[in-house]
Amino acid sequence: MSWFRKKDQKVEAVPANERHVKTEGVFQKCPRCETALSRRHLEESLQVCPHCNHHFRLDARLRLAITFDGGEYEELDSEVTSIDALGFVDTKPYPERLVQAKQNSGLPEAIINARGLIGDHLVFVGAMDFSFLGGSMGSAVGEKVTRIIERAINERAAVITFSASGGARMQEGMLSLMQMAKVSAALSLLEEARLPFISVLTDPTTGGVTASFAMLGDVIIAEPKAQIGFAGPRVIEQTIRQKLPEGFQSAEFLLEHGMVDMVVDRREMRPMLIKLLNFMVNPEVHPQVAQVALANNNGKGSSTISQPETSGALSKLDGQPK
C-alpha cells in the first residue's frame, strides 16, 4: 500500500512545547461563574452570561443598537468633547489621558447621544461607557446630557439615560461638580413639560452621576447585580471602620430599600422600556409627541436648541398646569 505512504513530509509537526489551540478572541471567561463563553454566543445574549446571568459591561454604541427599533439611530453631539480647562496634571497630563481614553474606547466621550425610535416613540438616549475614563462626568458629559434633555423638550420626546460612571471627573474640578446642578435643572424643565424620563442604572453607577440625573427618573431601572451608590465602598469602609455586608450597593439592595423601581435583565430591557413608554407617552398630555413620531424621520439632524423655546418652558413655571 505504498500510495498511502507520504513521500515527502512537507507539513512539519509543531514542537510539543509550542502546541496550543488558538482561542484568543474566540472565548471569554465569565468573571462570576468562570465558564468559558464563546464571543459569538455572548454577543447573541447581549453580553449576558447564559449560565449565571452575569451582565458584562456594555459598549455605549452596542447599547444604543440593542435599544432602538431595528438598531437604527442617529448619533448626536459627537462634536462636544472635553478640554483641559484647569491645566490638570496628575501622574499624566489630562490631555494625554483624554487622547488615551479616545483610543482605548473608540468613543469621543464617556457618553453617546442618540435620537431614534423605541417602540415607535421618539426618544433621545444618552448611553454612558465606563471604558472612557471610568464613565466620569466632566463638562462635556454634562453638556451632552443637558442637550438631549433640551432636545427632548423642543421635540416633545422622551429621554432615556443608561448610566455607567465612577462619578464626577476629578480632572475638571468644580466644573465637573457643577454639571450635577446643570443636568438636574434641565430635568426640572423636562418635568415641567411633563415629558418622560427613564433612568437605567448599569454597572457601576456611583458618585455625582447617581446624585444627579440617574436618581431623577420617573421610573428607575437597574441591571442585575449592578453596583449603585453615592460613596465608594472603600471610602465607606474607611469611615465606619468595618467590612461592608455582602451585596451592599447592589441593584437588588437598592430595590429592597426602595431606591429603584425594578431590576431588569438586559435581554428584557427593550420590551420593558417600550411598555413604560406606551404608558408615559400620552397624546392628551403632549399632543405633539405622536405626530413627531409619525413624521419621523427624514434623518435630519436636530441641532435646533432655540433659547426662546427653553426659557419658554421655564417661564411655564409661572402658570402651573392644572
Binding site: M170, M178, T210, F230
Partner: protein
C-alpha cells in the same frame, strides 16, 4: 506655626484648605447669631429623623423675614459627634428641602451656608438614598421662585455641599474652599499617595479666587487680616455687607426672570469644545 504669618503670605491651595478647616473658624450658627435676629430653629425631615449636621429655621435679616440653613460642624469631641462632623445624612438634605419649600410657600428669601467635608459616607446614609436626596434637592432648588443666596463659609465638600448650594448667587469667603473631591481623596486616587494632597489641591483649583475666575462663584468676600478664625464679629460684618448688596441685586427681578437667569447661569457652567 503662627497662623497670622500664613495668612499674610501668599497662600498655597493646601494652606487655604487648612484655614477652611480651622477649628476656630466661624460655623453656620456663629454667622446666624451675628447676621440674623429672631432665629427660630426648626427640626426634622418628617420622614425619618432629625439631622444636626444641618441647621435651619426662620429668622430676620435686617428686619425682613427669611429662611436660613447651613451645614453645622461641632467644636470639641462631643459636639463634633453630635453634628456628625458636619456631614449630613439624607434626612439632613430632606430637612433642608422642607425649608426651601417653606420659603417658597411664604415667599421669603433663602440664605444658605456651606461648610462640610462632604455628605456622610455610611451604610445607613446609602440605604436611605443619599444620592437621591442630593439629586432631588438639586432639581427642586433649580425651580424655586424665591431668591436663594449661597455662601461658602468654610469647606465646600463636593455633592454634599452642592446639595444646598444651588442658588441665584454664590458667594465665597476668601479662605473658603470648594472642591469636587478632598485633596487627600484626589491624591489617593490619582497619585495613589495621600501625601500628594498639596499637588492635588493646587490642580483642583479649589480656592475662592480660582473659582471666581472660572465663573463658578459670583463674589469673593474678603476676610479680616489674619483670617476668619481670628475674629468672628469682623468676618460677619464683612459678610453682612456682601449679603445685603447681593439680596438687593436679586430681589429687583420678578420670579420668572430670576428663574430664567438662574437656569442660564447653570446652563453656562462648564468648558468643552465643539471643534472636532
Amino acid at each position: 506655626m503662627n497662623e497670622t504669618t500664613i495668612v499674610n503670605d501668599p497662600l498655597t491651595a493646601l494652606e487655604r484648605v487648612k484655614l477652611a478647616r480651622h477649628k476656630d473658624r466661624p460655623y453656620t450658627l456663629d454667622f446666624i447669631e451675628r447676621l440674623f435676629e429672631d432665629f427660630v430653629e426648626l427640626h426634622g425631615d418628617r420622614r425619618f429623623a432629625e439631622d444636626a449636621a444641618i441647621v435651619c429655621g426662620l429668622a430676620r435679616f435686617h428686619g425682613s423675614p427669611v429662611v436660613v440653613l447651613g451645614h453645622q460642624k461641632g467644636r470639641g469631641t462631643k459636639q463634633s459627634v453630635r453634628r456628625n462632623f458636619g456631614m449630613p445624612k439624607p434626612e439632613g438634605y430632606r430637612k433642608a428641602l422642607r425649608m426651601l419649600k417653606l420659603a417658597e410657600k411664604f415667599n421669603r428669601p433663602v440664605f444658605s451656608f456651606i461648610d462640610t467635608s462632604g455628605a456622610y459616607p455610611g451604610i445607613d446614609a446609602e440605604e436611605r438614598g443619599q444620592a437621591e436626596a442630593i439629586a432631588h434637592n438639586l432639581r427642586e432648588s433649580s425651580k424655586l421662585r424665591v431668591p436663594v443666596i449661597v455662601t461658602v463659609i468654610g469647606e465646600g465638600g463636593s455633592g454634599g455641599a452642592l446639595a444646598i448650594g444651588l442658588g441665584d448667587r454664590v458667594l465665597m469667603l476668601e479662605n473658603a474652599v470648594y472642591s469636587v473631591i478632598t485633596p487627600e481623596g484626589c491624591a489617593a486616587i490619582l497619585w495613589k499617595d495621600a501625601g500628594e494632597a498639596e499637588r492635588a489641591a493646587t490642580n483642583l483649583r479649589l480656592t475662592a479666587s480660582e473659582l471666581y475666575r472660572l465663573g463658578i462663584i459670583d463674589r469673593v468676600v474678603a476676610e479680616p487680616p489674619g483670617g476668619a478664625h481670628t475674629t468672628h464679629d469682623e468676618t460677619a460684618r464683612l459678610l453682612d455687607d456682601a449679603l445685603q448688596e447681593t439680596l438687593a441685586e436679586v430681589t429687583q427681578f420678578d420670579p420668572p426672570s430670576r428663574l430664567t437667569q438662574r437656569y442660564k447661569r447653570l446652563r453656562a457652567l462648564g468648558r468643552w469644545t465643539t471643534s472636532v
